[in-house]
Amino acid sequence: MEQFGSLIAAAVVLTVITLLLKNWKPEYAMLLSTGCMVLFTGWTVLRMIPIFSTVGSLAENAGVETVYIKILLRCLGISLLSEIGESLCREAGQLSAASQISLAGKVLILESCLPVYRRLLELSLSLIE
């Protein structure tokens, strides 16, 4: 938890340096913010690993089929990656690229959720009969 505080402090320092670099060399400001993003996302992802293993074991105990947990994690990963790409493009001013990335992320999530919809439909139809 104390790492979290030092990370926030590092973020503030890096933001100041980025602003400093913005009027001299805008491309380095972008690279610096990308590095900052990599640092924080890496820290967050590394802390997610134990969380996911406990969620997986809880799901097995609760009897939920692991297929759905896998699809859920897949959608979570796709949304995380598209969020990273979109926020970087938006910050650099490429609004069109940012919207395309989020659109692609939505389509990928929809594609990976199709089996769940089919299973839901079958379940509801069997209930009706």
Binding site: L14, I17, T34, V38, T41, W43
Partner: protein, 65 residues
């Protein structure tokens, strides 16, 4: 995934910015552009390695491969 990488990028950015100002003032615009390009490539090299490591971890963690 440690913090000195980020401060190294910031240091390179500031050094290149100052260097290009000096070069431009002394009339060597081409060298200034070359210096910016070189600094950019160095920083991109470092960053790409970190980003690929991050994306590899994310793919392996969320099962996206």
């Amino acid at each position: 995934m440690d913090i000195d990488l980020i401060f190294r990028i910031a240091a390179i950015g500031i050094i290149v910015a100052v260097l290009t100002q000096v070069l431009i003032r002394s009339g060597r615009e081409e060298q200034a552009m070359m210096t910016t390009l070189a600094g950019l490539i160095v920083v991109l090299g470092m960053l790409v390695r970190e980003i690929s490591g991050l994306f590899g971890t994310i793919q392996q963690l969320f099962g996206l491969y």
